[in-house]
């Protein structure tokens, strides 16, 4: 079967059905995922393992670009060149292996061919390790700098690429057949990503070199005063928040509340910029929360007192929440579902945040015992985003490529279910009424009160001894 005639993608046209009742599917999948996580971590990333890509930037770049490839293949290209019939009849494990291999191959081509090859050789030297080494850098740092730059591109793509699908609904190319639609959106988001890269990360890279490369980049960068650092980690903070909010909006929020807007262009534009706005709220809060918990940052310090680290930690903290969001969405049936959409969204937000905080705590307390990393919050060469994104990649492979095997199986949606999915673009279950308005006012007041309660509690939270 080719692309659904209602324009539904493969992911929209299938329904995942539990193979067993109760929590067993989730338990089975998580056991499988954690086993694969640890095996692949040992082979590829672990500093004690086989390939030891966690140098750190080589491994950081790989896990981030792998994430982008998964998103491109499943969301943007709708699995092209594989057709829906093949996806439906092929065993999930075989699909998982083949589609993952395709992503790895595409990632290799992009990194080695485009970034290091074309861009690094003919455009911007810092994308190419050999060029940097030829100019006197050690081989190690030549690779670290180049992979850091390539990794930053991926950070931007991890926000923009899915955003175009989730918020902009593939517009205005939604009616194009694959691969034309995929190529178009990939190229457009890559172009936008390039602009964002130049105005956010290029200056960061330019001041890696002595003297500051003031003829090719804005130095000192324009954000210095606002962010209290010249580091591009300030941008990592809000961009990673955007990445997380895209999936929050797509998953546990079910595209609420922007899907209430009936006018297509307004809905899409509101969703796109709304995601950014929500991400900025999250970003500023997570930064402020650290200042409340650990004391105000001091510019020029290292580690957890430094503004650059705290901006980075905003992105890291957001990723812990994303793990909670995807866990709830993928393995708990987007629990809860029995209430109205706004109530479900509210409860899922609270539950996923609680899961994220628990993962955060357990990561910093125990992860060094198994990942080959160092205990402590702020090791300058350790990025919790690497294991978290590695885990998220496996979540996505399991759910997108393997239809949730072994705990779930994919069955085609019925005609009415497909109709419902197609119509779901605009939600009709929340209407403007005086009661709704009263509820909004009361809820907003309560939300603000909770916010001030949280920030009042942060100094106490900061006293919790997480590292032992």
């Amino acid at each position: 079967m080719e692309a659904d005639n209602r324009g539904l993608s493969y992911l929209e046209s299938r329904k995942l059905v539990k193979r067993w009742n109760g929590p067993w599917p989730a338990i089975a999948n998580l056991l499988l995922i954690f086993a694969v996580f640890y095996a692949t971590w040992w082979v590829f990333q672990d500093p004690r393992g086989i390939m030891r890509m966690y140098t750190p930037y080589v491994g950081y770049m790989v896990c981030r670009w792998l994430l982008i490839m998964l998103i491109w293949l499943a969301y943007i290209f709708d699995f092209w060149p594989f057709n829906h019939a093949w996806l439906q009849r092929t065993h999930p494990v075989v699909k998982g292996l083949i589609l993952s291999a395709v992503c790895v191959a595409a990632m290799e081509i992009l990194i080695k061919g485009f970034f290091m090859g074309i861009l690094g050789k003919y455009g911007i030297a810092y994308f190419n390790p050999e060029r940097l080494q030829a100019m006197g850098l050690t081989h190690f740092y030549a690779e670290e700098y180049a992979t850091e730059a390539i990794m930053m591109f991926a950070a931007i793509a991890s926000w923009l690429s899915p955003s175009w699908v989730v918020a902009c609904e593939n517009a205005p190319w939604q009616k194009l057949a694959q691969p034309a639609r995929g190529i178009t959106i990939a190229v457009v988001t890559f172009f936008l990503g390039t602009i964002v890269y130049f105005v956010t990360m290029h200056s960061h890279m330019a001041i890696l070199f002595y003297p500051w490369q003031q003829y090719t980049a804005i130095t000192p960068p324009y954000w210095e005063e606002f962010a209290n650092t010249v580091s591009g980690n300030f941008h990592i903070a809000w961009i990673m928040s955007c990445t997380v909010i895209v999936w929050v909006y797509e998953g546990i929020w079910e595209r609420y509340p922007f899907n209430l807007i009936q006018t297509a262009w307004l809905r899409r534009t509101s969703a796109f910029f709304g995601i950014i706005a929500v991400a900025l709220c999250l970003c500023f809060f997570l930064y402020y929360a650290q200042d409340l918990a650990w004391g105000e940052s001091i510019r020029g310090t290292r580690r957890e007192m430094a503004p650059d680290w705290r901006w980075l930690h905003v992105g890291e903290s957001a990723i812990f929440w994303l793990v909670g969001v995807l866990f709830l969405n993928f393995f708990c049936g987007n629990y809860p579902t029995k209430y109205s959409r706004p109530v479900n969204v509210f409860l899922r937000t609270v539950i996923s945040a609680a899961i994220g905080m628990a993962v955060y705590f357990f990561y910093y307390r125990y992860a060094h015992l198994v990942l080959g990393t160092q205990k402590g919050l702020s090791h300058p060469q350790q990025f919790p985003m690497i294991p978290m994104i590695w885990l998220i990649n496996l979540f996505l492979v399991n759910i997108w490529f393997m239809d949730g095997w072994p705990g779930w199986k994919a069955v085609p949606k019925t005609a009415s279910e497909r109709d419902a999915t197609a119509e779901e673009v605009v939600a009709h279950d929340v209407k403007w009424t005086p009661s709704l308005a009263k509820g909004l006012a009361v809820g907003a007041t309560a939300g603000i009160a909770v916010y001030f309660g949280v920030i009042a509690a942060m100094p106490w939270v900061g006293q919790i001894q997480m590292i032992k």
Binding site: P47, R48, R52, Y54, T55, P56, T138, F140, E143, I207, L208, F209, Y210, P220, T229, V230, S231, Y256, P257, A277, C281, L282, F284, F285, Y287, Y288, A289, I298, R299, G300, T301, R302, R303, P307, D308, W309, S340, P342, V343, V345, F346, Q374, G376, S378, H379, Q381, V430, K431, T433, S435, L436, G439, L440, V442, G443, A444, G447, I448, V450, Y451
Partner: protein, 386 residues
């Protein structure tokens, strides 16, 4: 009527749920990163612990050249798997096992040389020249501290013991450290942290005085603790487990619990209150960050004139001549602390020293002797007095 009320309640709940998320996000976005929000942060209370004073502190850089070829060091690290790899497995002397980068272990490395420590170090290092990666590359970091009390009496301390047995033996002889250890003139050995270039040369000091009182950070791994025993140490090992440990009046050891590259945890540094001048900070590598140290000292200690007078040591900014924009934050911000004398070397990095000088910081230049590569900063055999 009931249906209407029920619908109205449902709408209210829907609105309340939406409003709650919206209100929470609104607070986060509109308040968090504002001046008002920061005005509510409590002012930092200075504890200003009295810890006495000294008349002067003289530092001799016995060796600041931890390695002689940066490319070789980084090649070893890269081939082993990067900056998170356990230092005992990389294959550096004295723990090389001849199996190549990243394939060594403490047990395999120490086995053939254990019996030779600490008295037959030439033979031990000779074995390592056949098994270790780039055996000609190690040097080491070590400094002699001469503290003059207010009554004029002088006290000597050895800060770290370097790396290569051969190099450190030569360096100790050059500065007379071996004799000072033998005679007990050196009152205490302070091992700032477990890193190879500060710690692996321990048997050289043990050869001269295996009972010298020694203090270490409580973050040493089991291999490090075993190496202290295997090096022939017979004295009483003191483990710093509090943030502040008074070494003598006017000399405070400050402990920082920070994760460090090559699987090391924690570092200690020293603060001196020099009478009528102010605070002097001395570090081995300063992995915690120099401004982290200044801000800790500012909050916790009381010192003359309430000012920072001097700074010495590896400042761990660009140890591998690498760079990161956050280092510029440090270079830009250091000026606010207004140090009168900056004696830096070792893992500070030449590029950092150059940037310090460009900003007008009072960096004390060196003489580039005994294989120190540049007069940009204090080198081997150079001294600085605070």
């Amino acid at each position: 009527m009931d249906d209407k009320i029920t619908a109205s309640r449902r709408d209210f709940v829907k609105g309340a749920a939406t409003g709650a998320v919206g209100g929470l996000l609104g607070g986060m976005g509109l308040y968090s990163y504002t001046k008002n929000a920061y005005d509510r942060l409590p002012k930092v209370a200075r504890e200003q612990q009295e810890f006495g004073a000294v008349r002067s502190v003289k530092v001799t850089a016995i060796s600041e050249t931890s390695w002689f070829n940066n490319a070789h060091l980084m090649e070893d690290i890269q081939k082993s798997g990067g900056l998170l790899v356990d230092q005992y497995t990389i294959g550096w002397g004295p723990f090389g096992n001849g199996k190549g980068p990243g394939k060594s272990s403490y047990a395999e490395g120490i086995a053939p040389i254990k019996a030779m420590l600490p008295n037959d170090l030439e033979a031990a290092w000779e074995i390592q020249t056949k098994k270790a990666l780039h055996p000609e590359n190690p040097g080491g970091f070590s400094s002699l501290l001469e503290v003059e009390d207010l009554d004029g009496s002088k006290h000597k301390y050895l800060l770290d013991v370097g790396w290569s047995y051969a190099w450190m033996d030569q360096a100790f002889k050059r500065e007379g450290i071996d004799e000072m250890l033998k005679t007990g003139e050196i009152e205490q050995l302070i091992l700032t942290h477990e890193h190879f270039d500060h710690f692996f040369g321990l048997p050289v000091a043990m050869k001269a005085n295996p009972k010298v009182p020694t203090i270490i950070h409580n973050g040493f791994y089991k291999e490090g603790l075993q190496y202290i025993k295997d090096s022939g140490y017979q004295g009483e090992l003191k483990i710093a487990d509090k943030e502040m440990t008074l070494i003598r009046p006017g000399m405070m050891l400050i402990k920082f619990d920070v994760p460090i590259i090559c699987r090391v945890y924690g570092e200690t540094s020293l603060a001196f209150n020099v009478k009528d001048k102010g605070l002097v900070l001395i570090s081995g590598c300063n992995h915690q960050g120099i401004l982290q140290m200044t801000s800790t000292a500012y909050k916790k200690l009381k010192y003359d004139n309430d000012r920072f007078h001097g700074l010495y040591g590896g400042l761990h900014i660009s140890p591998f001549e690498d760079w990161d924009p956050k280092y510029d934050d440090l270079v830009i911000s250091l000026g606010k602390w207004d140090f009168e004398k900056v004696g830096c070397n070792h893992c500070t990095g030449h590029l950092t020293a150059k940037k310090f000088v460009e900003r007008g910081y009072p960096v004390v230049r060196g003489t580039a002797r005994f294989r120190s590569s540049s007069p940009d900063y204090l080198g081997n055999g150079d001294t600085i007095t605070f």
